[in-house]
């Protein structure tokens, strides 16, 4: 009887480790294209522990998750799940795996793929139905779990209409409804905005308290701090293992593993390098106290108006690249609710603009209009002096305005990387050799030289992203519009992409990008804050991200850059937006003699991204 396995006191008590892998190796493909996804991995997960798995893209995290969930049998080694050896010398134990799967839940990156019916509550019931439970029992579980993830009000709605964060919570409820003893979450927040990710973390906290064993895979090192134990994967090996403190103390190695230190750890490290006497720590409370001592009593904050920093706007403005003027837009089949409502702003030639806002606030819609894919219902948008109102004008702009949309890798289509990249330039009617020249240049920019003849579908996730972006760069647009280009990339990938964008921007290309990270937004020259399809604020980062706006930003589901949060917490007088500026500010506060005035957003720190 499936499901009966759930209440087996015998195994439940006897067991200390819910899953243990020893010398597990798993290979994909064969012959020349063989990939060793897991290489001699030995790992044991204790009952009730909260384990966090970090690692670069392609390091084998998802594969590890599948093995722990009993979805993949390895090639070598032994696997015991819930106290029963399911893979070992005598091969695969199908029944063992079946029972194990009943008690191990999995939630992964893309909520779309995990929701299998068109009504929320029926999706949550799907698992229990597969366990063959009685109808009334199913009803009880569905209510309970929807409540636990705070989705009970959406029980009857259509999942494909919910925001990513809500969908992900439904997926979690669906896994929990099977009452798993272990829940594996594979980058559950990768595609979500700040608020959505916070929601998921909150759910995980409650589950952990309820005694559910949690394995959490993530690219956000900050999230690892909540774990009891952290494991770092690299090329299928377990490289580092220990408490968050222990793991993140390997500062320099982390970089080579495609990771970074949490902000707090980086801050304490830098301060110590600058000769300040603070302990090295990942715990912001500890650091805050230590600093409070060195800084002495908080200075009265000089309210930061005007002279602290002069916004870019004041400088003699170059000609505008994009003029958005009282624009409103409504999708035809949505009951008259505006996706954009009376939005106006100018973008200077060669500027770099960051757009922030929680999901559904209208960011992507704004992008589509700027890229002349559609004309606004009201108001007008002028790009490079061309009004997007008429079809002919819009046609002219295609290609001049490069559009890197959410998950650009989903648009790859050609047989080879080169064909895909040359699609744009070719459509522009350029001469073959010119097309080729531009493609080579673009591929060089994103570091995909040598991959010309590979199929885009056989690149790694990160490379596919870069290939898609190269396809846009090859058209050499003078305005580049990007919609969350770093979503789902590991810290190394993010840093690389930031470098590429900085490079392009230095060549005078106007860059407009959507981002969920306030730290990234703070590095732009102009920040736009969208909230519920209206433009909440706009201006230089120093003007938008300041103590005065903290509450307003929070209400819009956003926040302040880490550096500024720290400055406020420490009661510094400056309002730094980057790590370097923050450190300067702290040093300044401690030893005024050698103070260097921080320079707003200019102290760029790629690692801070």
């Amino acid at each position: 009887m499936p499901g009966a396995g759930y209440t087996q006191p015998a195994s439940a008590d006897a067991m200390v480790s819910v899953a243990s892998l020893s010398h597990v190796t798993l290979r994909y493909g064969d012959g020349p294209r063989e990939v060793v996804a897991l290489n001699d991995v030995t790992l044991s997960i204790a009952k009730g522990e909260r384990l966090c798995v970090l690692g670069a893209n392609g390091s084998g995290k998802s594969t590890l998750a599948s093995v722990i969930c009993g979805l993949l049998a390895p090639d070598e080694g032994t696997v015991s799940l819930l106290g029963r050896e399911v893979f070992g010398a005598n091969g695969v134990d199908i029944d063992g795996y079946r029972l194990a799967r009943h008690e191990i839940g999995l939630v992964f990156q893309n909520p779309d793929d995990q929701i299998v019916t068109s009504i929320v509550e029926e999706d949550v019931a799907f698992g229990p139905e597969n366990l063959g439970l009685a109808p009334d029992e199913i009803g009880v579980r569905v209510d309970r779990e929807l409540r636990r993830v705070a989705m009970q009000d959406y029980a009857r709605s259509d999942p494909s209409r919910l925001s990513g964060g809500q969908q992900q919570r439904v997926a979690i409820a669906g896994a929990l409804a099977m009452e798993p003893r272990v829940l594996v979450l594979d980058e559950p927040g990768a595609l979500l905005d700040v608020r959505g990710r916070r929601g998921i973390m909150r759910v995980m906290d409650t589950l952990h308290r309820d005694g559910v064993t949690i394995v959490h895979i993530t690219h956000f090192v900050e999230e690892a701090l909540a774990a009891d134990r952290v494991v770092v994967m690299n090329h299928g090996h377990v490289m580092l293992e220990g408490t968050p403190e222990q793991v993140f103390s390997h500062g320099d190695d982390l970089g080579s593993l495609g990771l970074e230190m949490p902000f707090t750890a980086r801050l304490s490290t830098t301060l110590r390098d600058r000769g300040l006497d603070v302990p090295w720590t990942c715990d912001d409370d500890v650091l805050a106290e230590a600093l409070a001592d060195t800084l002495g009593p908080k200075q009265a904050r000089v309210d930061a108006d005007g002279q602290a920093h002069e916004p870019q706007a004041a400088e003699p403005a170059p000609r505008t690249a994009i003029q958005v003027d009282r624009v409103s837009y409504t999708y035809h089949d949505t009951d008259g609710r505006n996706a954009l409502d009376d939005v106006s702003f100018p973008v200077a030639q060669g500027a770099s603009v960051a757009i922030v806002g929680q999901t559904g606030s209208g960011k992507s819609t704004l992008m589509r209009l700027i890229c002349a894919l559609e004309a606004p219902d009201q108001g007008r948008i002028v790009v490079n002096g061309i009004d997007t109102a008429t079809r002919r004008n819009r046609r002219q702009l295609h290609g001049k305005v490069g559009y890197v949309m959410q998950h650009p890798e989903r648009q790859l289509f050609a047989e080879t990387v080169l064909d895909d990249v040359s699609y744009g330039p070719h459509n522009m009617g350029l001469a073959p050799e010119e097309v080729r020249r531009r493609c080579d240049h673009a591929l060089a920019l994103v570091g995909l030289v040598g991959k010309e003849d590979a199929s885009p579908f056989q690149l790694s996730g990160g490379q596919q992203r870069l290939c898609a972006i190269a396809g846009i760069l090859a058209m050499q647009p003078d305005t580049l519009v990007l919609d969350e280009p770093t979503a789902g990339l590991d810290p190394r990938g993010r840093a690389q992409l930031e470098r590429i964008l900085d490079d392009i921007h230095d060549h005078g290309v106007t860059i407009v990008r959507v981002t969920h990270s306030m730290n990234v937004a703070a590095r732009a020259q102009q920040v736009l804050v969208l909230s519920q399809s209206r433009l909440l604020m706009q201006g230089a980062p120093q003007d938008v991200f300041c103590a005065a706006n903290k509450q307003m930003l929070h209400d819009a589901g956003l926040g302040l850059p880490d550096a500024l949060n720290w400055a406020l917490r420490l009661g510094l007088s400056e309002e730094p937006l980057s790590m370097d500026a923050l450190v300067d500010a702290v040093m300044h506060a401690t030893r005024p003699t050698i103070s260097k005035a921080p320079s707003g957003a200019k102290g760029v720190d790629v690692r801070g991204v």
């Binding site: 798993l26 009993g70 979805l71 993949l72 049998a73 390895p74 090639d75 399911v86 695969v92 199908i94 795996y97 079946r98 799967r101 289509f413 050609a414 047989e415 199929s455 579908f457 056989q458």
Partner: protein, 192 residues
């Protein structure tokens, strides 16, 4: 191709291999969804001006499925998507006609290709499929159309040469050509 993909399905498998694998269910469902979307909005008038003779590329999704995953999957993808239409434009008539047209093209083509998984196999498959399809469509018209029109069978038979033959030939030709163009890049995605 068909063979080596179906074997990929159960490497590292931890489930009893009885009935359809979840992998097969998922792939079939998604291809059906693609075909349904083709019928729903990627359709366009095949001859500029003649607005009611619409072409939609749904059959291509079915053909790709048939080549990649075998005749079984191909047939499912040639039938299920059109059921979505029962209450839209076409009603019983259109649904039935669409299913006949697609199935009669996909099933023979994928059966041939399954025997000879080579370029030549694919081409012969498409040719065979085209012939069978043409015959089936004309037959279906002769049998079913009179149920929908007062016109007697003779009239329908009279329309074969001027209307049915050219239109369907064009449609089938497009399906085969586009499938050939689409399959090469997709096969790479199928492997990885």
């Amino acid at each position: 191709m068909a063979s080596n993909i179906s074997t990929r399905h159960d490497t590292h498998s931890t489930t009893a291999s009885s009935g359809w694998s979840t992998k097969r269910i998922a792939v079939t469902a998604l291809f059906c969804a693609v075909a349904a979307i083709c019928t729903l909005f990627i359709e366009f008038p095949i001859l500029p001006g003649v607005t009611f003779l619409k072409y939609d590329p749904s059959a291509i999704a079915a053909l790709v499925a048939g080549f990649a995953f075998g005749p079984g999957t191909g047939s499912v993808v040639s039938v299920l998507p059109y059921l979505v239409h029962l209450a839209t434009e076409s009603g019983l008539y259109g649904t039935f006609m669409a299913i006949v047209a697609t199935l009669s093209l996909v099933l023979p083509a994928s059966l041939v290709y399954q025997r000879h998984t080579t370029m030549r196999g694919a081409i012969t498959g498409l040719v065979v499929g085209a012939v069978v399809c043409l015959a089936a469509v004309i037959l279906a018209n002769i049998v079913v159309t009179p149920l929908y029109m007062g016109a007697p069978r003779e009239t329908v038979i009279g329309m074969i040469v001027p209307v049915l033959l050219p239109f369907n030939l064009l449609k089938i030709a497009i399906n085969c050509v586009v499938t050939a163009l689409v399959y090469k890049p997709i096969s790479k995605a199928l492997e990885s």
